[in-house]
Amino acid sequence: MVGILSLTLLTLLLTAVLTFLSGRYAKFVALAGSLVFLAEVGLMIADFTQWAGFGAGGVPQYNYSETYPWISLAWLHINYTVGVDGISLILVLLTAFLQLATVVYSWNESKSPALWFGLVALTGLGCFGVFVALDILLFFLFWEAVLIPMFFMIGYWGGPRRRYAALKFFVYTHVASIVMLVSLLALAFYSGASSFDFGSLYGPARTLMPATQVVLFLGMFFGFGVKFPIVPFHTWLPDAHVEAPTGGSVLLAGLLLKLGGYGLIRWAVELLPTGAHDLAPLLYLVAFTSIIWGALVALAQRDLKRMVAYSSINHMGIVLLAIAVGSSLGITAAVLLMFAHGVVSGLLFMVSGSVHHTFGTRDVSALGGITPRTPALATMVMLGALASLGLPALISFPAEFTALLATWDQLGYWVVVPLLLLVVTAAFYLWMMQRVLFGPPKGIPPTAHDLPRVELAGMAILAGLAIIFGVLPGLLVHVIVSSPISGWP
């Protein structure tokens, strides 16, 4: 009996293959596949009443879990094991929405559409796999599988320096995944776990010597951190974003960055609690650096897309801070914030893409007063910026608030640092809005039209999410806390 997770994987695989093969009709196949994917995820969430709890020996169990032996040698046991808890389920939900929004937004893609939509579906498949895999090899397989479509999206559809950006993206993230893989393998073999399954790693890994845990955690922190990305390993991100096509940027910021955060929580913090605890000062340092660096550099950007990219570094810094705090409240905040950032940065990258091809430039200082001419686009710019700077009733606010609350619990007055930088974030977004949206019209070509319907629809999906979950964040939190690590104490 095939479970719903395998069924979803199969759906995504089938979507990707059929999309590649269906030529002109690729977008319809991709749309249908994305809708089925969303429906399956919706079913899972509707059916998800509570987390499966701890099993024998204090090993966490997972909902909808399936396990089949894959490679079984005397010294190597690899299974196909999938399963979800609240944390992964929320990120799976994000994957489904972002894939759908990307397909809708890039509906009119004319350069090799079959290839484009196939790669979008493949990215969704890879990310879904990463979130549900509970075996080292399976996890690594999906982790690497995400790299390939993104490499081609940047390298084929990207801007003028796309080859450089694609290569840099590939080198940074691939070297990081190698360090991550070696750390995971070392974790399995040094702990003497009976297989590569998350469940059988759980007990032995948590009882490893503190010194070993620290070394292994360091390796994983580097591996997952580059995806975050953490300062000083962040320089691939602005380049990748600036060169990537809009859909690629949406998936990159919305999903790929979340892989790092999710991996850190599931495979590093959960398996190596002592290592995480002992290295907390380092994590705080890196998190604060990323928060400060991201915000200040974003302030100095004139390119709208680069600004959003650096604000991503800032936001992911807050995610890292919330993870470093280590409390269940912190983990909950981190996951909520990842969801929020996925939605909002996706929206903002769509907005900057549309600004670019409506006005021919993304330079903030070259534009002005676009509201009368393109009211829908201006509304979306405003909504995205306000959501990103943490306006209450939009989705980032509850997430950031919880993150700061968790930081206050553990670090006391240090919370002032991220708070002050939130002011900087607000400053550069408000300043951007003031220059681009209001004032006398500037830099508007006579041919500029308001948003095409499909682009508006793509944005509307994400904007709707930002508003709904901004008003009712409890819907998400209710699911997120159903996990072994983010549950209320």
């Binding site: 490679i71 079984s72 040698l73 005397a74 690497e144 080198v171 070297v175 393998l185 070392a186 073999f189």
Partner: protein, 508 residues
């Protein structure tokens, strides 16, 4: 000793003799001699596999823990489970090349020389896989080497082939001399040349200095055979100059023979180092292992870096072949049975990906496409099936998930991490190298699938040449095996792992 034990080898010899007899009688038709060669290789393969099936890997021999799976008394040969795995590998490589060569232009001369020597070369490799004595091993290697020198030179009118054969011969003679000199020093040090005498079964007696020099010379001598850096310089010119089908056999078959020789020669002292570190002078075992480790890292790094700069498809594949030898040497340097299993699986996988890739190159050359990578531009649109098969082979060489190359590398590197300590760095080096290798494979894929052909290139034309049914079938089998074993490696991998555990005396 009973002759029945050597039935597969006898079959190969009989096939070769029959082909030479036909040659004398003037019957040289390609279908006839090729058919005889393919049948005897296929028959030998069936016999070996049936033998494995009947006796089962587990039943072959039980040996005391901590010793190599070899006879307890000195003997020239021994049937080991790992030896069987390598025999299967060699026979597969030979069979692939033989069947694919049935599709050559039938007016080509020298078919009987080609197929006859192919059988003799495979016979030598089969004997390497059962050697349990250093001299026997070196003689068996020599059987293969002599036939492959001639194989490289068989298109007698082609100057490039002759030059390659000459290089191959001179270097080969040098490596043989080094190996035999090393063997004579080991004989002086141990008083025997059986691997039993060299192995961990006996306490280390004799003269450490002689043994060190002897092993050093053997590293150099056998290093030439596996194209380990710095003994690799000949390989690229030879692969490039040799007929492409011969290059396929050299990289997929005879080089792997060198890997098995490495196992036989160096595993004894390495295992002794693990089981009884005090029995050896401390510097000796450690320095041997360190040397092999450095050799592995150098080989894969230099091979990969040089492959990055190549413009010709064959030379690129030759350098990538060198780097792959580096991965396999990790298995020797680590010396635990998981690592041996990983290396053996890598060798097995290599038949499908590297031999297959060279066979595709020969097929594409047969279509009239030039030797440069840029000559392949746009081939994906013209020959989609062939291009997809080639892409699978390259992706597998690069170690991309869901191909057999990924599984073999994953197992190999896992095994290095499993051995812990110093060996973890070998895994890191191997993984970084895999990352590096992606670039030159990706470049080829880009040329094939994304670039448009130059207007003057044959690919831009109608491209009417035929590949031939036999060659297409081999390429298809290799491509299917790459994906099949990549998704479900289970039975094959566990068989090889059991064999490896017997080889070092752990399984029982």
């Amino acid at each position: 000793m009973s002759l029945a034990e050597f039935l597969p080898e006898i079959l190969l010899l009989a096939g070769a003799l029959l082909i030479f007899l036909f040659d004398v009688l003037g019957r040289r038709r390609l279908e006839l001699v090729g058919g005889v060669a393919a049948l005897s290789l296929g028959g030998a393969l069936l016999l070996v596999v049936a033998d494995l099936g009947v006796s089962g890997l587990a039943a072959i021999r039980t040996v005391p823990a901590g010793s190599v799976d070899l006879p307890l008394a000195p003997s020239l040969y021994a049937f080991t489970s790992l030896g069987f795995v390598f025999q299967v590998t060699f026979l597969l490589a030979g069979l692939f090349v033989a069947v694919a060569s049935l599709s050559r232009p039938s007016d080509e001369k020298g078919a009987s020389v080609f197929f006859g020597l192919l059988l003799i070369a495979t016979l030598g490799m089969m004997l390497v896989a059962v050697a349990s004595d250093l001299i026997f091993l070196l003689l068996a290697i020599e059987v293969t080497s002599l036939s492959t020198y001639l194989l490289v030179a068989y298109p007698r009118r082609d100057e490039r082939s002759l030059e390659a054969a000459m290089k191959f011969f001179i270097i080969g003679a040098l490596s043989t001399a080094l190996s035999f000199f090393g063997a004579s020093l080991l004989f002086a040090a141990y008083g025997g040349t059986s691997f039993y005498a060299l192995g961990p079964g006996v306490a280390f007696v004799g003269f450490p200095l002689l043994a060190e020099i002897g092993y050093g010379l053997l590293i150099a001598g056998l290093g030439f055979k596996v194209t380990a850096v710095p003994f690799h310089a000949w390989a690229v010119d030879v692969y490039d100059g040799a007929p492409t089908d011969v290059a396929a056999f050299l990289s997929g078959g005879s080089k792997k023979m060198g890997i098995f020789a490495f196992f036989l020669v160096f595993l004894g002292p390495i295992l002794l180092l693990r089981s009884a570190p005090d029995a050896l002078p401390a510097t000796f075992g450690a320095s041997l292992q360190l040397t092999l480790g450095i050799l592995a890292v150098l080989t894969m790094t230099v091979g990969n870096v040089l492959a990055l700069r190549q413009k010709e498809m064959k030379r690129m594949l030759a350098y990538s072949s060198i780097s792959q030898a580096g991965y396999m040497l990790i298995g020797v340097a680590v010396g635990t049975y998981p690592a041996i299993a990983g290396a053996a699986f890598q060798v097995f996988a290599h038949v499908f990906m590297k031999t297959g890739a060279f066979l595709v190159v020969a097929a594409v050359a047969g279509l009239g496409v030039g030797p440069l990578i840029e000559d392949w531009k746009g081939l994906g649109a013209k020959r989609p099936a062939l291009s997809v098969a080639f892409a699978l082979m390259l992706l597998s060489l690069a170690g991309v998930p869901l191909t057999v190359g990924f599984v073999s590398k994953f197992v190999l590197f896992s095994a290095a991490v499993e051995a812990q300590g110093f060996y973890v760095w070998l895994a890191v080096a191997g993984l970084l190298n895999s990352a590096l290798s992606v670039f030159y494979y990706a470049r080829v894929l880009k040329a094939i699938f994304l670039d448009r052909p130059d207007p003057t290139s044959p690919v831009a034309g109608p491209l009417t040449g035929r590949i031939g049914l036999a060659r297409s079938a081999v390429i298809a089998v290799a491509a299917v095996a790459i994906v099949g074993l990549g998704i479900y490696p289970g039975p094959v991998l566990s068989g090889i792992s059991t064999a490896a555990s017997h080889f070092v005396g752990i399984g029982a």
